[in-house]
């Protein structure tokens, strides 16, 4: 599974950081960073993050 974040849509709400903290986090400059190819066991958390993003900026590619 690959995780993509559309930076033109992302507003930095951080709902993904709340939903899937193992995959998404803010760096010291409050910039969003994420694991691009997370472990398959995190699938559900990543799906939740994509679901909950207010701007719907996250897409998951492949399994």
């Amino acid at each position: 599974m690959k995780v993509k974040v559309d930076s033109s849509l992302c507003r930095g709400h951080g709902q993904c950081v709340i939903a899937a903290p193992e995959v998404f986090r803010f760096d010291e400059n409050q910039k969003l960073v994420w694991v691009e190819a997370p472990d398959a066991r995190l699938r559900r958390a990543v799906e939740e993050a994509a679901d909950v993003c207010p701007e719907q900026a996250i897409t998951i590619v492949g399994d």
């Binding site: 709400h13 951080g14 709902q15 709340i18 939903a19 909950v52 207010p54």
Partner: protein, 421 residues
């Protein structure tokens, strides 16, 4: 540069209004008396202030007035949600104040994140998609009742029953309960108004009866096999997950969903109708192109949000755009002023077909409105159907509004129209 450097630091830890005023006395920065009952977020005073500076001083801290500054501060982690302090600042105690202090909006950090994670499945966009046919059936049923007459009182005949019955749909309840919900939500909503001290007995009675109702509802739902509906998903979070939603948190969340869902949606739909009555070409456009329903919701919330400002509080000292913001400072994000800021919207007139930057009607950051998919979904259906069936609406008497600050909306809005569709 020099001018900005001279600005005094702001320290607003004290809830005492007098000391607050004294500390931030500063001639260069505009002052807005948001505590004045006649204050309006849409007044020329606010527009003038926004042209003079990115912020204004107020009796309760600072008001942030421009789009870019609001956008950045809303997601800034050096700020926390500010309305948690409401009971303390107003010496409010009782059922509403206690619930307010416990519920999602007042929590921060790991505790807040746990509650959001547990609540997320119940508020997912997928659940909303499955409910859309019910929303449109409801909108049509309500319109059927008054279409032939060619007139209605839009709040009592549409926005209030619609907002309340959407909650019945969400919770899987018989619709016969909607009036009870509506009156509870309205009474609890008084807590957020300027006259709340006078209304406290009513506010607390409403809060207690909503808790009784939520308790009963959860017990009834637990007696049946759980499914993928809103209540089931919350109940599962209460018993199944690795993290646990406590019994009290489950109740608080159901109460928040009912209160937060009805009051805001009813108000926002009334404001939408007000805006469209004043912009008949936009309404006609929506009537012929119902697929613009979602864009119409976004544009209405940009131009006329029911939540006219969102409160934040600094959790540390920091510098922002030349201003030293001290820990404890209250910042009011003026969503209304920011979303008509000509720096971000050079052509800011109401236009549902225009490409727009996101508005702040649902707040932002960690505390972004949890029910926004539901609100967007139900208002999209409502506006698209209304525009098709109520042609050329006009006021049929003066509409009455709540004060144009804090959470606003219409109380009464008689309209007449030509029935169509």
């Amino acid at each position: 540069m020099t001018r900005l450097r001279q600005l005094p630091a702001i320290a607003l830890n004290e809830s005492n209004e007098m000391s607050t005023r004294a500390v931030i006395a500063e001639a260069d920065v505009p002052y807005l008396d948001v505590s004045d009952p006649s204050f309006s977020v849409r007044s020329a005073a606010v527009t003038d202030a926004r042209e003079r500076h990115w912020y204004a001083r107020t009796p309760y801290g600072i008001a942030v007035l421009r789009y870019d500054e609001v956008r950045r501060l809303l997601v800034d982690q050096r700020l926390r949600q500010g309305s948690y302090a409401w009971p303390a600042l107003n010496d409010a105690t009782g059922a509403f104040a206690h619930w307010w202090s416990r519920m999602l909006l007042s929590r921060e950090g790991a505790d807040h994140a746990r509650l959001r994670r547990l609540g997320n499945p119940a508020f997912s966009p997928r659940l909303v998609t499955s409910l859309k046919p019910h929303f449109s059936a409801l909108a049509n049923e309500l319109i059927d009742a008054f279409a032939a007459a060619g007139r209605c009182e839009f709040i009592a005949d549409f926005s209030e029953p619609y907002a309340s019955r959407v909650i019945c749909i969400l919770l899987g309840l018989p619709h016969g309960n909607w009036k009870k919900f509506a009156s509870i939500a309205a009474d609890m909503g008084l807590a957020l108004g300027v006259t709340f001290k006078r209304d406290l007995v009513r506010i607390d009675a409403a809060t207690l009866s909503l808790f009784d109702y939520a308790r009963e509802l959860i017990a009834q739902r637990r007696a049946l096999p759980l499914g993928e509906d809103f209540l089931s998903l919350l109940i599962k979070a209460n018993r199944e997950s690795e993290e646990v939603l406590s019994e009290q948190e489950l109740l608080d969340m159901v109460v928040l969903a009912i209160f937060g869902g009805i009051d805001t949606t009813r108000n926002q739909l009334g404001l939408a109708m007000d805006l469209f009555v004043r912009h008949p070409a936009q309404w006609a456009l929506l009537g012929t192109r119902p697929q613009l329903g979602r864009a119409a919701v976004e544009e209405v919330m940009r131009v006329r949000p029911t939540v006219t400002w969102v409160t934040r509080e600094a959790v540390e000292d920091f510098d922002f755009e030349g201003l030293r913001i001290r820990r404890g400072t209250t910042l009011q994000m003026f969503s209304q002023a920011a979303c008509s800021d000509p720096r971000a919207f050079p052509d800011a007139g109401f236009d549902i077909a225009a490409e727009r930057k996101p508005h702040f009607g649902f707040g932002g950051g960690a505390h972004h409105c949890m029910g926004h998919f539901i609100a967007r979904g139900d208002m999209t259906e409502a506006l698209a159907i209304l525009a098709g069936r109520l042609r050329a609406p006009a006021f049929d008497g003066e509409p009455e509004f709540m004060p144009d600050s804090g959470n606003t909306g219409a109380i009464r809005m008689p309209i007449r129209f030509t029935a169509g569709g």
